[in-house]
Symmetry: C2
Subunit: 199 residues, 2 copies
DNA sequence: GTTGGCATGTAACCGGTTACATGATTTT
DNA sequence: AAAATCATGTAACCGGTTACATGCCAAC
């Protein structure tokens, strides 16, 4: 259902668009928040048209179909936004890596965490440059409205990246603090299972 | 591939277990980080056994099969943890909601954000109580090892929840600041599309 | 006239969820 | 004897990814 909502949201906020347009928006603006390829978008648009949530408003050159949101579609979108309790089915590989990283030797764990941190820092820089690009009007006194779409989400993502970076830094520091000072103990890189034979 | 890694990780950290045991661990300890139902776990265990990553170590009462990780399995796990660059395919409905919330009227948006914040605060409290329950030994001077599994992940999740709560609080404040003071402008609850007809 | 971007779609596959299905053992 | 829990599996469905397939139009 979420792809449907994302599409309705884009049509509501930015006006009529074709499947191609929407796919490109998913690649650019929305990509930090949701991803979808055209191969899922086209069938979904067809189903939504059949369901009366959107309608073909115009047909263009290369078989281009421009879709617009219908009142039914707006109602559906509103219902979701107002009534939907977000079921947070987190399934990010990063979480899993955070969970399993203690299985590695300290030096290895630190190396892995450094790599993760580097990636997040690059991502953060990218998002910050995006934020800097936003027109000043949006940062100032402009009134509430669809133009704001994305500003809060960007802030949201920025905070997430920052939290990830902080976690990595603190975890690296913690491992270094605990690491046995004896260099000989940095032994063979094998998972040690003897310490906890059972749960 | 990630379910496979999660299963290998559990077997490496906590020793041999049955599919049933693993499914229960997914419900409890791992659930904050990764979810999987038994209907995916059993076939995956079968495939991993066929691939030599795990092996049936014992058979119990009700057809119970206890699996243990093999050297090949450990190697696979290590390879993933060391070499895997996390492809962060975030697809959390919360992100989407953050993105679309400006489509609502200020009052509505605030109500939605408050609800989200409440949920995260409950989750945070739950995680904090989990953290408090951890044996003191783990917080002190214990050496690096598989016993640490979960402590960093818990910290990770705590930081995420806190960042979400902060974002919601600041966003609510921002909307309130911008909201037109005139009560009459809190008009019909319809998505206004006139302000931005095209991207 | 050829390259590149516009534009739409389908098919195979993969991983996850929900529901179906069965039966053994232990506890009350 | 009944209920709860242990324990394993399969099937239908759904959503997403990758790859396949086609063709139009504009620019160089």
């Amino acid at each position: 259902m979420s792809l449907r909502i994302a599409l309705l949201g884009l049509l509501a906020a930015a006006g009529p668009a074709s499947g191609y347009d929407l796919a490109k928006k998913f690649e650019t603006s929305v990509s930090h928040v949701w991803q979808a390829g055209h191969s899922r978008i086209y069938p979904e648009l067809a189903r939504m048209t059949a369901g009366g949530l959107i309608a073909v408003e115009a047909e263009g050159p290369r078989g281009r179909k421009t879709y617009g949101i219908t009142p039914d579609g707006e109602a559906e979108l509103r219902r979701w936004l107002l009534g939907h309790t977000p079921v947070s089915t987190r399934r990010d590989e990063t979480d899993l890596q955070a969970f399993l990283v203690p299985l590695l030797e300290p030096d290895e764990a630190i190396a892995v965490l450094r790599r993760m941190k580097d990636g997040w820092e690059r991502k953060l820089a990218e998002l910050e440059s995006l934020q800097a690009m936003r027109p000043a009007a949006e940062n100032a006194t402009e009134e509430w409205g669809p133009g704001w779409l994305g500003a809060y989400a960007l802030d949201f993502r920025l905070r997430m990246e920052q939290a990830l970076i902080d976690w990595a830094a603190d975890t690296i520091a913690d491992i270094e603090r605990r690491r046995p000072a004896d260099p000989a103990s940095t032994g063979p890189a094998v998972i040690d299972m003897t310490a906890s034979p059972a749960s």
